[in-house]
């Protein structure tokens, strides 16, 4: 459990994070629109950038020292893009990184590298050059190099950004597996990415925490606000012009249109909200 209390951060006199307090645990999804401050917060947690004020504890132990979160081996951070040593193979890169991380014995290093390659399912790709690997595979190398140091908390910034659908699904499974014995914090601006994966979510916008709780609790934020119309093509235009449409699904004989509304929609039926609805309710509420 990582507890953040009242974290503030300014850059160039602009507030980037304002009184951010969160309790991160399990597989934690940090969601929010672009520019919300997710990357900034994750970098602060990972001791990469300074904070102006606030606290961070891990299982009760204080980790803030001066203007930074203390350098430590518990937290491993994977940036959005990981493309190091383009001209050598994934295995050679991992071997070198293991040496940088202090694994000096050659045989021990080979064992460690093989182990992390297995852990992230990179078998069969370890001899390809970094530049030849797909985005998803490169992310795996990124995670593998983190695992060399055996951190217990993994911080992944937008890990599914730039991956195709197939890679996304495989990656999700990998995260789920890693979640069995690590605390994982993942950020995303796409709610679907963390759905079915996170055990807890935090919503950040313009540097402020708008919500924190379980996915079910986030869904509940939109309870009573989501309505579904069964529309024809002609009606669709009308609805789109006058209502706040969140989703359109084409079915065999009709188009089902989900709209957001805080008063009763007479011609529509009230439907149970999904995670995205809860997220939108929280994020939109802030605009008004």
């Amino acid at each position: 459990m990582i507890q953040l209390s009242n974290i503030n951060k300014q850059m160039k006199k602009h507030p980037i994070l304002t009184d951010v307090s969160l309790n991160m645990e399990g597989i934690y999804g940090l969601i929010g629109p672009n520019g919300a401050g997710k990357t900034t917060l994750m970098k602060i947690i990972s001791s990469l950038i300074s904070l102006d004020s606030g606290g961070l504890t891990i299982y009760g132990e204080d980790y803030v020292k001066g203007k930074y979160v203390k350098q430590n081996k518990r937290i491993g951070y994977l940036p959005q893009d990981f493309m190091v040593y383009p001209n050598i193979s994934a295995e050679e890169a991992l071997d070198h990184i293991a040496m940088l991380k202090g694994v000096m014995d050659k045989r021990e290093r080979r064992d460690t590298v093989n182990q992390v390659i297995n852990e992230v399912n990179l078998q069969g790709h370890q001899n390809k050059k970094m530049i030849e690997l797909s985005g998803g595979m490169r992310k795996r190398v990124g995670i593998a190099q983190l695992l060399i140091g055996k951190p217990s908390i993994l911080v992944f910034d937008e890990p599914t950004a730039g991956l195709d659908i197939e890679e996304r699904i495989r990656f999700r499974n990998l995260l789920k597996n890693l979640g069995a014995n690590h605390t994982i914090i993942i950020s995303s601006h796409i709610v679907e990415d963390i759905e079915f994966l996170s055990t807890k979510v935090g919503v950040l916008k313009k540097g402020k925490v708008l919500f924190e709780g379980t996915p079910a609790e986030l869904k509940a934020q939109a309870a009573g606000y989501v309505w579904e119309y069964d529309a024809t093509v002609e009606e669709l235009d009308e609805i789109m012009n006058h209502k706040e449409v969140v989703q359109i699904t084409e079915e065999e004989t009709k188009i089902s249109v989900r709209v957001f509304s805080n008063h009763e929609e007479k011609e529509a039926k009230s439907v149970p909200p999904r995670l995205i609805d809860g997220y939108l309710a929280v994020v939109k509420g802030e605009d008004e």
């Binding site: 970098k43 994977l78 940036p79 493309m83 040593y85 383009p86 990184i97 040496m99 940088l100 983190l146």
Partner: protein, 219 residues
């Protein structure tokens, strides 16, 4: 100790793999300097030009390897993942390249002494070579940690070097680091060596401070 030697060996192999042909540029410059010294006509008046060749051609390339090694820290995602580890590794890399260059210097100096005689080199020259090597290596590391771009850093170093050599250390309003004339005792020599020594210390501090600055990355 066995691990250490093995790792140094592996590090050089790793350099060759990641840098490719670029790795051999300082080697070529060494061979070039060596052939100039060997093939020079050996006229008494021109003797000191050999020492200028070492200063202006061989020593500036001492920054090459460490520059390229450090430049990999500015690849996509490395700043956030490798730099904390790399800054601990930095001294090892620095000294293995420094050591290699000192060997190169020793070879060139020996050739000079064999070809001419021991009087061509003074202790001051040798000391100056070594400090100048440190100066160039640290100038390189300072530039790369500040600019985070290897091409621009190298260009600055090369322009500086060419300007210094062409103007023989006159005109330009910055401290001059070369010895274009045989060192003679006087106030001028200790001043020059002190300037160089101070520059080395300042550049070392700059390197060590900025090597870790992940949040100062220019966009």
């Amino acid at each position: 100790m066995k691990h250490f030697i093995e790792n140094i060996f592996l590090s050089f192999r790793f350099d060759m793999k990641t840098m490719g042909v670029i790795f051999f540029v300082p080697v070529v410059m060494f061979a070039f300097s060596l052939s100039i010294i060997v093939l020079a006509p050996g006229i008494v008046d021109d003797r000191y030009n050999n020492i200028v060749v070492i200063q202006g051609l061989f020593i500036p390339f001492s920054c090459w390897w460490i520059l390229y090694r450090l430049s990999e820290m500015y690849e996509e995602g490395a700043q956030e993942t490798l730099v904390p580890y790399y800054s601990k590794r930095f001294p090892v890399d620095f000294f293995r390249y420094f050591f290699l260059h000192v060997i190169g210097l020793a070879v060139l100096c020996s050739i000079l002494i064999i070809k001419y005689d021991a009087s061509i080199l003074t202790g001051i020259n040798v000391l100056h070579f070594i400090i100048l090597t440190l100066f160039y290596m640290l100038l390189g590391t300072s530039l790369i940690v500040l600019i985070k771009n290897v091409e621009i850093s190298l260009t600055i170093i090369m322009i500086y070097t060419v300007l210094e050599v062409i103007t023989q250390g006159d005109y330009m309003p910055w401290p001059h680091v070369f010895l274009f004339d045989p060192p003679i005792n006087g106030p001028f020599l200790p001043i020059k060596l002190s300037v160089l020594g101070v520059a080395v210390i300042v550049l070392m501090v700059v390197t060590l401070i900025f090597i870790r600055r992940a949040d100062k990355k220019p966009k």
